[in-house]
Symmetry: C2
Subunit: 225 residues, 2 copies
């Protein structure tokens, strides 16, 4: 069974990620490729538990991170099932374990814990090691970014989930910490991470560029087979 | 408000821990000390979720560890409430985050992941750092151990919880890994860890020895106040 090209979509909140995913998917499908998508936190048992209990404002930052990370780990079996049953050419994962860790570390900082970039790097590597045979291995991480003023405009339009989730989306310091941890990951994996700027009004052009990159990757893969 | 002496009880399964806890508690209470106890996994929401979903045989080792660790992290707020409301002289924690990590790493090994002692050490330290302000800080870790033949005899008498939990209790390689990770922790914190052998038939003498040690610690604490 051929392995799909596995793309993880990451980024701050309100950078236009959902719109981009839909546009890129549509371009690839128009070229005849089959694209499957999975979004976390999902509606699996661990996903629901993380979203409800993990977002309870009385829950501490560590418990919250562990619950969201448990969901991305646990959902790996859903990803494996999608690969087996749908046999897509590309699998889009809308936030994976990198997200759980980057947001978890950012919230820890926001709550006054002095976690360093090095701590983040080591933690990601240890989780990946512990998750050997559990996680599916992504080929590319697309980190979507946007100018801060565009992000703030989008936030105003967005209907949030409410609670802690929405408060954190609106917390600029929180988002700054998240961005910093994504940048650490880009330094760790320069060949796997593509950092994509998505300014307001340019989504079509950005989607075209991403689709082109993925088509090239698919061609490389086909050439290797 | 005076801080209680915080004792974490750890150890392999079927080493006689529960009996020892009851005996030591009774000795200390007969000397006029107030002892409060909390056992994890508990019946809190995260405890129930870990025990039910985390012990589902289809759940991978990483998700399982994260769910049990989330419970010990989350239950820290119960521990803080006990300290505040009951104001005990001693707080016994029957398994804490050390347990979640030692068993999680042991199961990872059992599933073929090559996690090292150094990985364990770094992971414990990172979790403690991330859990700053979350975990209560233990004064003493009592790691209860027993000769393997005694442990096997006790296992035969024990009514297990069933499922994966019971299978792991009976898996000697699993228990050997757990013991090795506890030993790493003892090397990390020689002044905080007391390794206690509890051979069959000697529980009263062992309980006396532990109680004596704790009474000395209490006297030291009182001398410092």
């Amino acid at each position: 069974m051929p392995k799909p090209l596995i793309i993880v979509w990451e980024g701050l909140d309100a950078v236009g990620k959902t719109t981009l995913i839909a546009k890129v998917r549509s371009i690839l499908e128009s070229r005849g490729y089959k694209v499957s998508t999975h979004k976390t936190p999902s509606s699996s048992k661990t996903g629901e538990f993380a979203k409800t209990y993990g977002n309870d404002p009385d829950v501490d930052h560590l418990t919250r991170m562990l619950l969201f990370l448990a969901n991305t780990s646990d959902d790996s079996k859903i990803l494996k099932r999608i690969i087996e049953e749908e046999a897509p050419d590309l699998l889009f994962i809308d936030r994976y374990y990198l997200c759980s860790i980057a947001y978890g570390f950012a919230l820890s900082r926001l709550r006054g814990v002095r976690v360093s970039k090095q701590d983040f790097k080591i933690f990601v590597e240890l989780v990946e090691k512990l998750g050997e045979g559990v996680f599916v291995k992504p080929d590319i991480y697309l980190v979507i970014d946007a100018p801060e003023e565009d992000r703030i405009k989008r936030l105003k339009m967005k209907v949030g989930q409410g609670g802690l989730e929405s408060a954190l989306e609106r917390d600029q310091l929180m988002q700054q910490h998240v961005k910093e941890f994504y940048m650490v990951f880009k330094e760790m994996r320069p060949n796997e991470v593509a950092w994509i700027m998505n300014p307001q009004g340019e989504a079509d052009a950005v989607a075209d560029r991403i689709a082109k990159m993925l088509l090239e990757k698919l061609a490389e893969g086909a050439a290797q087979d």
